[in-house]
Point group: C2
Chain length 234, copies 2
DNA sequence: CTCACTTTGTTTATCCTTTCACAAGCTCAT
DNA sequence: ATGAGCTTGTGAAAGGATAAACAAAGTGAG
């Protein structure tokens, strides 16, 4: 069992957390936006502001991997982008498999955020006979029965699970058997996996529920304050 | 600017992080699964195992809010579920607005994870005239032009942004103007917000990119090891 | 009733992440 | 060339989160 969120990696330089990596990916996206606007040089202050972190955080995150800036000047955007792409491993093309072409799955097939940057969903799997054999957004839908075969032939390493929760574990087992090394899991269950596979959970219900906690908390805080004020007056 | 991920809350008891809240939501889901299987009592060991945390972590997380277990016995599932629902604030019904009924948005409308537990998407907004006025999964699509009006009339507090990134900031501004207090953001941009609003980002591209980092890292580690072995033999 | 065995709740210690503070290095005006 | 004014990179301190350890409390067999 290997959860990404509590994973630490040690290089010759130092130990850093999975959180650092997630931030690098965020920096990268923001840098690309600056590049599109023809900005050439950027300081840690600016890039960190639009990424909602402190400048020190940004510099520290980079420092685990080398020195990419010029003192007194800042960072050359073009270079930093390609350095980050290389660090993250997305300078190569990654061929991704998708399991579950329901409403979420087909949304993912159309999602630009993946296709834009070297992350190509190459094939998809479903159990629905109406879908099998057809093309969705240019991607062929296979039967889950052929999952191992297709994935092994294509030598794929990354998969996305977008199935209903009840079958997610079964799918994960099949994927691991076929040699998949990383799973992006949208099904709201904690998958049991072996140590060879990295799991990253995208849990929308959890996110929404914790958001609600904070909104609710704020609300009751305000109500209590109001009551206190009333009792002062009374 | 108020990011959920780096938020800490202080009660009379102690300070805890947003991560604690996300874990509570996870425990809750797993507890519901146990309840469906007619389990009545559970120990911190069991519930923590299926949530991928340590038993101490689980007990610590609960301890911020009170004592819910019986020593020597464990936790009564039914009670713990309703306590957690109360803590998270999802014992009440929350009326959620959705902005952007594209492929992702309509997937969210159909997503069971929300509708199952007191989280109801009540209305949706889009700019596409072909969609406005129609019903998607029983939810009426309004024009974004009427956003403020509809949200204020309905007194809604939570919204989901599932638009393209370019318009996300504009939508967020409109939502805040209409009195929205929490935003679940699927658009891959860092939103600028005032301190009255909580933002929770669900960033699928970041997740996938950081997953790829770990898979890639593992791969190059193995290749290096193989090379070392070869040079030993040579 | 008593004692061995569980399991929770919490204090204490450890570890890790973030922030602070500053030295090192670059640029440009004079 | 030189010094003022930036900005980076990083050692050290501070702050939080996790883990270890243990006390408190319940159960059940004998």
């Amino acid at each position: 069992m290997r959860k990404l969120s509590q994973h630490t990696i040690c290089t010759k330089k130092k130990c850093f957390s999975a959180e650092t990596i997630r931030r690098l990916s965020l920096y990268l996206r923001n840098l690309r936006r600056f590049k599109e606007n023809n900005v050439k040089i950027i300081s840690s202050g600016e890039i960190s502001k639009c990424s909602n972190v402190s400048p020190e955080q940004f510099r520290r995150d980079l420092s685990y991997f080398g020195e990419f800036g010029k003192r007194g000047v800042g960072y050359e955007i073009e270079r930093l982008i390609s350095e980050l792409e290389s660090i993250l491993g997305i300078d190569k093309e990654w061929r991704v498999a998708l399991v579950g072409v329901g409403s979420l799955g087909s949304a993912l097939l159309r999602f630009e955020g993946f296709s834009k940057f070297h992350l190509k969903i190459i094939c998809a799997f479903d159990i629905d006979n109406n879908k099998i054999g057809k093309n969705f957004s240019g991607v062929k839908i296979h039967s889950v029965e052929n999952l191992a075969e297709v994935i092994k032939t294509d030598n794929m390493e990354i998969a996305i699970i977008a199935t209903l929760p009840d079958v997610a574990q079964d799918v994960a087992d099949k994927l691991m058997g076929a040699g998949i090394k990383g799973i992006l899991n949208f099904a709201p269950v904690a998958l049991r996996t072996n140590d060879d596979v990295f799991i990253s959970d995208v849990d929308m219900a959890c996110e929404l529920e914790s958001l609600i906690f904070f909104v609710d908390q704020r609300k009751t805080d305000k109500e209590e304050e109001k009551e206190r004020n009333l009792s002062f007056e009374g």
